[in-house]
Structure formats: C-alpha cells, structure tokens
C-alpha cells in the first residue's frame, strides 16, 4: 500500500510525535518544516475523536520549523539552538527529537547532534521519522525502539511486571481506554502492566523499568513485534504475541487463558477472575438479548470492518461468534509488513467454524467503495472511519466510527477492549442505529 490513497487513514512516520506526547512529561522536538507538527496533531489528535493536545502536544510541540535557509545551507545549527531552548523552556523529563522529511532530505546529522546532548547527561533520544519512511504506526515503533536503544540499561527482573505494546497512542482513538482495560485485565491475573503511555503510566521511570519486565506482551496483529524482538535481543526478555483484539466474552477469555499459561499464573486465581468477569458480561448480554432477538428482523445481518487488522479481526470474531452477525467483507487498512499477511489472512479465515471473511489489504477510499458496492446485497453494518460515511449511506447501511480519522465522535476514556469493551461497542453501535431510525 505504498500507492496513491484517496482519503488516507494513516499518516507518516513523524506521527510518532503523538506517541512521545502520550508519555507522561515527555517532550517532542521536531526537526521538520513549519507545518508538520500541527498537521499530524490535527489528523491523529484533534480531528480524531477530538483528543486534544494534552500536556506537551498540540500548540506546545517544539519544532525547528525549517525554512528555505535550512534547506539550502543545512539545519544543524538551527536544531542545536532549538534543543538548547527546549531544555531551558520546556518542563519535561524526557526529550525525543524526531526528524522529518526536510531535515533528512538535506542530510542533517541529527543523530550525532542528539547523541552529544545525551553524552552530557540529558535524557534525550533521536528518532529517524522522516515522513517518507512509512506510516505513523511505523513511526510509533521507531520512537519506542529509539528510547529503548538509546536510554535503557539492564535491570533486575521484577516478577509479574509486563510491558504492554498494544494500541498506538492517538492513532487508535480508544488507546487510553484500551490500555487502562489491559491494565485491569492483567491485574485480575495478578500481573502488573507497564502500560507506558497515558494517565498514570509513570513517564520516564516506567520506561527505565522496561528491562525489568518478566515478559513483553504484544497485543496487536503486528505493531510492537519489532519492539519485542528488540527487547528480546537486548535484554533477553521473552514475549507473548496475541494478534487479536480481546473484545467480548469469548475473545477476552481466550486471551486471558493464554496469558495465564504463558505467565504461569496460578490457575485458580485466573479461573476465578475469568468466571467472575464472564458472569458480569453474560448478565448484561442476557438482558440485552430481548432487544437483539426482537429487533433483528429489521437490523442488518452482515457487517464490514474498515480498520487496522488488530481491530478488524477482534471485532469480526465478537460480532460473529457472540452476536450472530455474518462477515461481509473486511478491509485491512494498516499496511502490515509482508511477513504478517499470511497470519492475518489465516485469522480472518477462521472466524468461526464454517464462517470466514473475504478481506482486502487496502486503505484507499475508492477501492473500498467499489468492493462494498459489489458485495452489499442487503444493507450492512459498516464499522470504519469518517471517510466511510458516504458509502454506508449509498448502500443503505448502518455506520459507526471505530477507526481514525474520526470526527463524528468525542472520545475520552472509552475502551473497546475486554469484556466491558465488547458491551460498550455493542451499546455504541446499536444506539447509533436506534438514533438514526427515529
């Protein structure tokens, strides 16, 4: 998916600035043109659930705003001047310098300059995030690996400590809620999640504790795998890769049992936690069942997801296996690296016994529209981004935003992960349908 895109859903590697802004008291410093910081904040933060700038994002993002002079003569002295200023003016614990297209194309040695500051004892790292290097998910990984490579030292293992690599901050509109849900699920098994991003995640000190983890949890179809591999090489930390969003009763329990096995958690503790959570989930499921059974005569039976693979698989499994819907066609928009394509295909092929879904790897609006026009024989449910509203209307479908960019929802702590996350998605989806019919 390196081709042209109508209505892009992913931005560029410099979008890693949002991952920096999501670390408590971390300050992003961009060595880029004047508009990059604001554009990326706009696409990933503000016009994606109106997530805002927070402490060090939005209008406060430091940037060299490279101009014609830097393009012609190089921007290294400008960068030094701006870093000097940032260290005095910005009140932060960790500084991450991110390079953009301009400074990389003109060949500034940003890495060397940043290394000099680090040698003098400043907690500062460099992330090579030139926009043409890949999308913002790659940018997120580049930022995490930069901090790991340039700042972390071995530590004694803390039993039960688990580093979590999952929802990409800001890009996944529900990242903060999802990470909080992961922390609660892990706590239920007696594990301590090191979630690294968002409220009460611990900032730089939490990042310094990464080498002390018992293991790394990659809860995503592919994002974070490069980080876990890096940590395995560097500190020998083992890792568990679970590629499916644990959402709803079945998927969350399946995930927790695997986690229990991998982390060697006491079976009694795990079983009792899972049973308690399932009881609660099914209490609400049972009560909502009157609605599902009595309204489904006029509700869509088929659904399409237009989302990152992590979401698409999890949501498809829940809707199919617990809510009796049928997969129409799923669109994988996050441009997974080639090595993950087969496992992603397999995952969609085994949604339920005898039920699989056709999938397309694309994020191009027109390509998606053409497929949906061809396959939607009855009005479907479409779970996508704001770009998909028009096609949903065209094919007479029902629509809910679950992917970026998202301008029809205000998102704060909402989570679509875990038992409650499943109920929440169902509430949001059917509430939007109920609103639209009256």
């Amino acid at each position: 998916m390196t081709g042209i895109v109508q209505h892009p859903r992913h931005l560029c590697a410099l979008g890693g600035q949002q991952s920096v802004a999501a670390i408590e008291r971390a300050i992003p410093i961009l060595h880029t043109g004047p508009g990059c910081g604001f554009k990326l904040h706009t696409g990933l933060g503000s016009y994606n659930g109106f997530q805002g700038g927070g402490y060090s994002g939005g209008a406060t993002i430091v940037s060299t705003n490279t101009g014609e002079k830097e393009v012609v003569f190089g921007g290294e002295s400008r960068l030094q001047s701006v870093i000097d200023g940032a260290l005095k003016i910005m009140d932060g614990d960790l500084f991450v310098v991110l390079s953009g297209c301009t400074s990389e194309l003109v060949g500034d040695d940003t890495e060397h300059i940043v290394a000099e500051y680090r040698r003098r004892g400043t907690p500062i790292v460099f992330a090579a995030t030139g926009g043409f290097r890949g999308n913002n998910i790659i940018g997120h990984e580049i930022v995490a690996n930069a901090i790991i490579d340039q700042l972390l030292e071995p530590r004694d293992i803390i039993p039960g400590l688990v580093n979590v690599w999952s929802s990409v901050p800001y890009h996944d509109t529900f990242w903060a809620g999802n990470l909080a849900s992961i922390r609660e699920l892990l706590a239920g098994l007696g594990l301590k999640a090191n979630i690294l991003f968002g409220p009460n995640s611990g900032g730089l000190e939490a990042w310094r504790k990464i080498p002390a983890a018992q293991f790394n949890l990659v809860l995503s179809s592919w994002t974070g795998v490069s980080i876990a591999r890096n940590l395995n090489e560097r500190f020998g930390t083992p890792w568990l890769h679970w590629p499916t969003l644990p959402i709803g009763g079945i998927e969350t329990s399946r995930f927790l049992r695997r986690l229990q096995e991998f982390a060697d958690v006491d079976t009694t503790i795990a079983t009792s936690f899972i049973e308690e959570q399932e009881r609660s989930f099914h209490y609400f499921f049972e009560r909502a069942a009157d609605f599902f059974l009595e309204f489904r005569w006029d509700m869509p039976s088929h659904f399409a997801t237009i989302a990152d693979s992590f979401y698409g698989i999890g949501v498809s499994r829940m809707l199919t296996n617990e809510f009796g819907l049928l997969p129409l066609h799923q669109f994988v928009t996050d441009d997974p690296p080639e090595e993950f394509h087969e496992s992603i295909r397999d995952n969609y092929a085994q949604i339920a016994p005898g039920i699989s879904s056709n999938i397309s790897f694309t994020s191009d609006g027109e390509e998606i529209n053409q497929v949906l026009r061809a396959v939607a024989s009855s009005p479907p449910i479409i779970l996508g981004s704001i770009w998909d509203r028009d096609i949903a209307k065209e094919v007479g479908g029902c629509y809910l935003s679950i992917a970026s960019p998202m301008t029809d929802r205000l998102v704060t702590s909402c989570s679509y992960l875990g038992y409650n996350g499943g109920l929440r998605l169902i509430e949001d989806l059917y509430s939007s349908i109920l609103t639209s019919i009256q």
């Binding site: 042209i4 892009p8 554009k39 990933l44 940037s63 910005m90 194309l105 003109v106 609006g365």
Partner: protein
C-alpha cells in the same frame, strides 16, 4: 441587472505558476514586540525587518492554508503530492466541508482529497508517474471540473517537475489542472498558502468577463455564515462568497462582479488585487466591515464604487440606531474588562475593533504575522492603524502561534478575557484560568448586528468560565519556572 460588454483580457498579474512569498512580496514578518504605532510607522517607512527566534514551537505551513481554500470547492479535487503525513489536515477540511454543507442545506459528502503518498523510493526515483496516476484516479472517481495539485516540502526538494506533468494531463483530460506552489519550507508566513491557492485559481479558472454583473460583490472568505447579506442586500447588492462552497463555474465568472471585498484583508490580498489588475474588478480597500467605524467606512467605499452613495447614509444611520439600545447594555456589561487578542492579521485587528466598541479595554494583542503592506499598496487599507486609533501605545507583538511567548506575556498582562483564533492554541490560554474565546465563525461579529451577536456570545462564556477554572486548577502548562520569569520575547533574536 446584467449588461453586455466587450472585454479584452488585460495583462495578467502573473501567468507563470507559483507566487512570490510574502516575506519578499509584502515585507511580511513573524517576530516583533513593541506598539501598534511604532509598527505602523516602520512598516510605512519600509524599515520593517524580520527577527528570528532562537527557539520555536510548531507553526503551520502554506500547504494547510492552500488546501483549506481549495478542498472546499465542491466540484474540484485536490491532490497532495506529498508523503501521507502532509494529509493530516484532510479530516479537518472534511469536517468543514460536511458541516458547511449541512448549514447550507446541501447534500453532505466527503471532501475530495487524494495523497500521492510519497515514499523513500519516490524520493530517489521521482514520482511524476504516481502523480499522473493520481490525476487519472481523481478524474475517473469524481469527474471533477478542475484538479489542484498541491506541492510539498518533499516534492519541492526532490525537484518534481509538476508543470510538464500537469500540462500533459490537462491536454489529455480537457479540464484545468493547476499546480499550487505551497511547499512548507518556502515561507514562514503560512498566509503565503492563500496566495498560492488564489494564484492557481487566477491562472487556471477565472475567465475574462463576457458580461458585467455590477450588483454582484465577490467576498473572499473562509467558511463563515452569510452575514454579508445583512449589509449588502439593503443596498441592492448580492454577496458572492468565495472560494469555499463554490463550484468551478461560479469561480470562472468572478471577473464579472461589481467589486471584490474580503472578510480579512490578509486572506485575499493577492486574489483581490489580481482581480482588479487582471480583470478590472475594483477592490474595496477599506478595512473589512467590523466595528462601528470600520463598517461605516467600508460601506461608504462599497456604495461609492457601486453607485449607491444616495442610499448608504440612510442605511448606516438606521442600522446604528437599531443596535444602539443593546449595544449600550453590552458596553455596560463589559465596562472595565481588560481584553487581549491573539489571532492572524487582519481579522485579529477586526476583533480588536469589536472589543473596543463593546466597551472593553485592550491591554495587548499578538498577531501571527505582519504584512508591511498589502498587494493593493494603498496605506488607507491598513487594518492595524484603523484598529488602534486611540490605542496605539498598547503592548503589541507579532508571534506566529508561539504558545510559550503567549503564555508568558499573558501572565504579565493579566487580561480578563482573550480572543484566540487558530486551532490548538486556546487551551494554552485557558490553562492560565483566563476565559479563552475561540470564535470560529469569522463572520459572527460582522457589521453592526454582528457586534451584538458577538457581544452576547462572549458575555455567556465570560459569565461562566468553568472550563478555564477547572483547567487552571488541574492541568499544568509545560513551561519551566525559569522561562516564566524571563521576558516574553527574550528568544526573539536580532535582525535577520
């Protein structure tokens, strides 16, 4: 009323693509600290020089401004020839599009936006093939009446030959395909992006007039509601709001209008001057119609150009009379309130006029850039001078959205209320506990009745600044104590 005329196309403003950046064309700057009187004086004398900051926060670029105007043309497509990150503003324009369509009772559809998604391979081998593919895709998907191709830092630095690619496509498809020279690094004054967009429209879209429509008045604007009708229709004139929410056919004929005006003199300076020079459409050069005096003067110039001198005074008197009781109430409400404006010129200057007419005391202002002159070159159009008659010695600065300077300055000036424009900046102000009034509809305060609309809105916010109070108690600004003790403009260096 239409009249047939014979028109010979006059010499054009500039036929070659691209536009001279504001720094060189208008002597524009982004750093200044002083007073309005001094700034007006040195600008007039041609002595204004840029001062560069040793530390900066993220600004905005020309590409943003250019795309904002072009992406809201309803039957065109914008292709951004750039890496995907440059399309971070697409969702914003899409919301503006859908929201604006809704307000105008049009079908709501997504803005027509495509990125060529330049990658590392493209930076080495070039991507004009991809651009052609994007043009074909735009054409087959939308059958647009025009295509605009916006340049980026990357396409500029790797030296993409946009012109010959676009010429080739234009010939094949038979619709105007215009390049828009809005590479971010070219200018620190993001308003250069407006000029780039208007330059593309002037070059490729606007046609010589076949008829004249003297009653039709071009109003160069953003996305605000049509409050211009309140001022124009009583004079028998019809506002034609351009460029957002127009169709290509409408833009082709702006050359037929009786005059061109703007909601903000810095927005459409290039376009309005171009229409006058190239097509003989007179530009209203008075500062835009905000505040009592500003509206009086603007209406008189408009009436003079359109032959409505005989009815304008009566209209002005009637309108002033109509709002007087409510204005008096608002003035009492705002008496003694100290205000500050952080916005782009010249709309920021208009806001300064409004606040003063509402009875507030201006304790300072900062504008995101300053143009030493406008394209029409007439000092009578100086919006800063007009807005600061009698308040020319207040604190005035030029600061391109530098939150660290603004916060520092506001802590010293301690205003009771701040008008702030430009997304993402209001929260920095609000964290100080100061009511931060973000007025997105730039037409809200327009004319006489606008004063009342604007005043009432602000009064509501001012009455209950709970959001600001909450933020100031619980959410910190990311600045060190050291910085807050420095002079606000101490990072502003010597002359460049």
């Amino acid at each position: 009323m239409t009249t047939e005329i014979q028109v010979t196309p006059k010499s054009v403003v500039r036929q070659e693509p691209g536009v001279t950046i504001r720094e060189r064309r208008l002597g524009s700057i982004t750093g200044y600290s002083g007073t309005p009187d001094e700034l007006v004086k040195i600008s007039l004398a041609g002595q204004l020089v840029e001062r560069e900051r040793s530390f900066t926060q993220a600004g905005t670029c020309s590409s943003f401004c250019a795309t904002l105007q072009l992406s809201l043309i309803q039957d065109a497509v914008v292709i951004n020839h750039a890496p995907a990150g440059c399309s971070g503003d697409f969702p914003m324009f899409n919301l503006y599009n859908r929201y604006g369509q809704g307000k105008r009772k049009l079908d709501q559809t997504s803005a027509r936006l495509i990125t060529t998604n330049l990658n590392e391979h493209d930076t080495i081998f070039g991507a004009t093939g991809k651009l052609l593919e994007a043009i074909h895709k735009a054409y087959s998907t939308y059958h647009p009446r025009a295509i605009f191709v916006t340049a980026s830092c990357t396409s500029g630095i790797i030296g993409e030959d946009l012109e010959s690619t676009l010429d080739e496509a234009e010939e094949e498809l038979g619709i105007p395909i215009a390049s828009v020279s809005c590479e971010g690094f070219r200018s620190q004054v993001w308003a250069t992006g407006w000029d780039a967009a208007y330059s593309a429209i002037l070059r490729k879209i606007v046609r010589p007039a076949k008829i004249r429509r003297p009653e039709s008045i071009n109003i160069i604007t953003f996305i605000g509601e049509d409050y211009f009708s309140e001022l124009l229709r009583p004079l028998g004139l019809v506002p034609d709001l351009i460029v957002p929410f127009t169709k290509i056919e409408q833009l082709e004929t702006v050359s037929e209008a009786g005059a061109t005006a703007q909601m903000c003199s810095t927005l459409g300076t290039y376009f309005a001057a171009g229409l006058e020079k190239q097509y003989g459409v007179p530009e209203i050069k008075s500062p835009p119609p905000y505040g009592l005096t500003g509206t009086d003067m603007w209406l008189r110039e408009l009436a003079h150009i359109t032959g409505k001198d005989d009815i304008v005074e009566q209209f002005i008197a009637a309108e002033r009379n109509a709002i007087e009781p409510e204005l008096e109430k608002l003035k009492k409400r705002f008496a003694g309130v100290k205000a500050f404006v952080a916005a782009g010129p010249s709309h920021g200057h208009s806001s300064m006029e409004i606040l003063q007419d509402l009875g507030m005391e201006l304790v300072g202002s900062c504008m995101f850039h300053h143009d030493a002159k406008l394209d029409h070159g007439d000092p009578a159009g100086d919006t800063l001078r007009a807005a600061t008659t009698g308040s020319g010695r207040m604190t005035y600065s030029v600061c391109n959205k530098q939150s660290f300077e603004l916060v520092n300055l506001l802590r010293r000036l301690k205003p009771d209320l701040v008008i702030v424009r430009h997304p993402s900046l209001a929260v920095s102000v609000a964290k100080l506990g100061i009511p931060a009034c973000f007025v997105d509809d730039e037409h809200l305060g327009l004319g006489y009745r606008g004063l009342i609309r604007y005043g009432k809105k602000i009064a509501d916010w001012f009455r209950n600044p709970a959001i600001e109070r909450n933020l100031s108690r619980h959410s910190a600004l990311p600045y060190t104590r050291w910085w807050l003790e420095q002079q606000p403009f101490s990072m502003l260096g010597g002359e460049v």
